[in-house]
Symmetry: C2
Subunit: 463 residues, 2 copies
């Protein structure tokens, strides 16, 4: 159908004023007096709604008056300016066709619903103001990420979801199987016989695409992943989902400095893209979800990010240890309260903390010459603390091998990974950005369940 979108009307109103337009959308509200009425219509293309005026000259005037919230209609009429009114223009309808009515028990009424209630109707909540804004912005952020990397020549790699390796030694993975659960095949020793499973071995859902990503960085130099990732953590918090999306760039011939430059440029690019392309949504979030949002994002976009080593950061934080629930000391992991203090109170802008103790970081991070720290970096931002974590990767075959031995990792599982250090190794670096948390940061939404279309969390897998 040839329909004009509400977005086209708002963004290019001169072209439509005083002309006939046909718009399709859903009713947000109807009110009528005896001879005319108003419909507020949204069509999903734009945050703002469109007012439609209709008159009893229409044959179906009474039907329109009785429309329930949520009904789908097609309106043909003339767009006219309304300089006296709140909205800039309205449609004077000549014809309204009901595409699909909305039953009386429509679960979304005009009143404000709680986030908790809306989570119980995840198939309908995208029709509300808040979720229209959230999921339109989510889509834009995703595109901004792709555009950022593609403009810079990064190759997008689809790393696998089903994996036979237990990447970071994390036990909290989901098993993937086609075995008959009621009648599991057994080995002679009585164990479950995974050689009968679909892949002839035990498989799980991945927790990170990084190691696979590194193999492609050593071929294409600059690559990124952007795909789903899984954690079977029993964490019932506002920031944990069992299924979430991750972005993991990886660069060959790149050290920690290059890595931080990329992370800073990426964050600024995404923020800029969203502010430019979703001004109405961002204004809405700033007014109704999180009052300090725009100011915070402007700060991130316009600051030069700070840099501090972990060791220096600990010295700074130790001086104010009485402020913290968890006291800091060299060797401790930084908690959100410490991270936020650094970025909000000390630096008053985003800050990279680098060179963490090797004991609290992953085996693949590059060991520094001090033998105590690794070339890791976390990017902390006002409002939440850590948003990005990354590192330069260990590129020495011998050092990687001995670190794996120290940690008791089975070399056989990492043959391919060691090969990268054997055949044309390069200094290389990368980081991970949790996409859903990034959406939370850019929208001010406080619960990860409200930025994922159909969130999967412990005990919850609806639709």
């Amino acid at each position: 159908m040839q329909l004009t979108t509400v977005k086209e009307i708002y963004r290019d109103k001169e072209q439509h004023l005083d002309k006939q337009v046909t718009v399709g959308g859903w009713v947000r509200s109807v009110r009528d007096s005896k001879t005319f009425g108003f419909v507020v219509l949204h069509d999903g293309s734009f945050f703002e709604t469109l007012q439609v005026v209709y008159h009893d000259s229409m044959d179906n005037f009474q039907d329109i008056c009785k429309l329930n919230v949520g009904a789908a209609i097609i309106v043909k009429g003339t767009l006219v300016a309304t300089p006296q009114a709140k909205q800039p223009f309205e449609i004077q309808a000549e014809e309204i066709t009901v595409e699909g009515d909305s039953a009386a028990d429509y679960p979304l009424q005009k009143k404000r619903h709680s986030m908790e209630y809306l989570r119980t109707i995840s198939h309908l909540r995208p029709r509300t103001n808040t979720f229209q804004a959230v999921f339109r912005v989510r889509s834009m952020i995703a595109f901004a990420v792709h555009q950022f990397f593609q403009e810079r020549g990064f190759v997008y790699v689809h790393t696998p979801l089903i994996t036979g390796s237990d990447c970071e030694g994390a036990g909290e993975m989901f098993r993937v199987t086609t075995l008959d659960m009621e009648n599991l095949p057994r080995t002679p020793e009585g164990k479950v016989d995974y050689s009968k499973d679909f892949f002839k071995k035990e498989t799980s859902l991945t927790v990170s695409g990084q190691l696979n990503g590194e193999t492609y960085a050593q071929a294409f130099r600059n690559i990124y992943t952007f795909g789903p990732t899984f954690r079977a953590e029993n964490s019932n918090t506002t920031r944990h989902a069992a299924e979430f999306w991750m972005i993991e760039p990886e660069m060959a011939f790149a050290d920690l400095e290059d890595n931080m430059e990329l992370a800073e440029a990426m964050l600024k690019y995404i923020i800029q893209y969203v502010l430019e392309n979703a001004p109405e949504e961002m204004q809405f979030f700033n007014s109704f979800i999180d009052k300090g949002l725009l100011e915070r994002l402007e700060l991130v976009k316009n600051s030069e990010f700070g840099h501090v080593t972990y060791t220096e950061a600990i010295e700074i934080l130790e001086k104010v240890n009485d402020k913290f629930e968890y006291k800091v000391f060299w060797g401790c992991d930084l908690q959100t309260e410490h991270e936020r203090y650094l970025t909000e109170q000390v630096y008053k802008r985003p800050v990279f903390v680098t060179d963490y103790p090797k004991e609290i970081k992953a085996f693949y991070m590059k060991q520094n010459d001090d033998n105590k720290t690794v070339a890791a970096m976390d990017c902390l931002v006002p409002g939440i603390g850590e948003i990005i974590g990354g590192s330069q990767r260990e590129d020495s075959y011998d050092k990687l091998k001995s670190r794996m031995a120290e940690l008791g990792l089975d070399e056989a599982d990492y043959d391919f990974y060691l090969d990268l250090r054997k055949y044309g190794s390069t200094r290389h670096s990368g980081f991970g950005l949790g996409f859903d948390r990034c959406v939370m940061y850019l929208t001010g939404m406080q619960n990860i369940r409200d930025v994922l279309p159909f969130p999967r969390t412990v005990n919850n897998c609806d639709l």
Copy 2:
């Protein structure tokens, strides 16, 4: 590191000629005579390689001569034109630093390796010519898809991977569980007790995001998904993978005609994008992988797609039934041989076949007034047959409900889906494009294992 890429040099050579450049990359070959030598270098940014000339005036001349294929080096030198030579320019090296050497047993030597062999080293094969081309083009196609939909205002939706519903009644799904397999909890009746599982119920990996996608189309009007999808089919063919990527657009206020227009525009857009952005790779595929590739893609790009109903198509095909292994008759499913005959012999261009018998299509497709067919469409293209399948969706609550009853589907599982027909239903349509098969089509690659970075197929889940 500030490195000039090989792509920058090729695409903008005037700016670099007779100037100093620093390039990092991997050695494809080294040959030397007594006083000088040549290195062929690729850096992953571009399909073409760069020739480096080095002389014995360098301190490490002997080391460079001994470099193995695959070594990583950084070359500083002057880019000079070579009008007499095969390649347009070369670097006269002043300094070559070895970033990482390559052990003598490097599995990729200069000779041609078989696709089968390369599949056994999926972490190294992206360094070869063919896979450099495949995965750079794969990345571009992915971006072209996003750009196509975003330019048209479609909202990108991340539909969930883990699902509690058994969407199309397909039995062939992967189970997702955190239950202890060696010690499964049991109900009093002795069955596996899934109420103890992570989500408190049985869950699987999704086979399609469509039904979830429809809920968002009824809120945003135009949406698309682009994410991984799974089939636990025991199909060991060149076209089946257990994990693959799908694109599923869905449009409200759109009938079958709109759906076909979108599919046609999308295919043409993607082809155009790749031809423009990867001319070297496409030329390579056309010369070494599939001789008719470019001609076929140009045809698709420049044709107006044909349209034929299933019933008409059967009449056409029945006349030449002796050509086919499987004879056609009204009611049969079309096989690849029939599809290819239609598009290659009859239409000599892409063609949409519409209005299939309802018995061979999914329950959610819109029933036509003849009570025998549904508003389905398959897009057939020369070379492979079906590349896209879609339909207008049933938008009538009553018709959908009675069709579900006929097929014995449990209404309780589809409450949310029926709701869409109860609250503001619209005519709406969508389709699915298997992304990996699309990559095969655009590159001419013959095996799905060679367009997926780390393919998952029956019995195979390496890395």
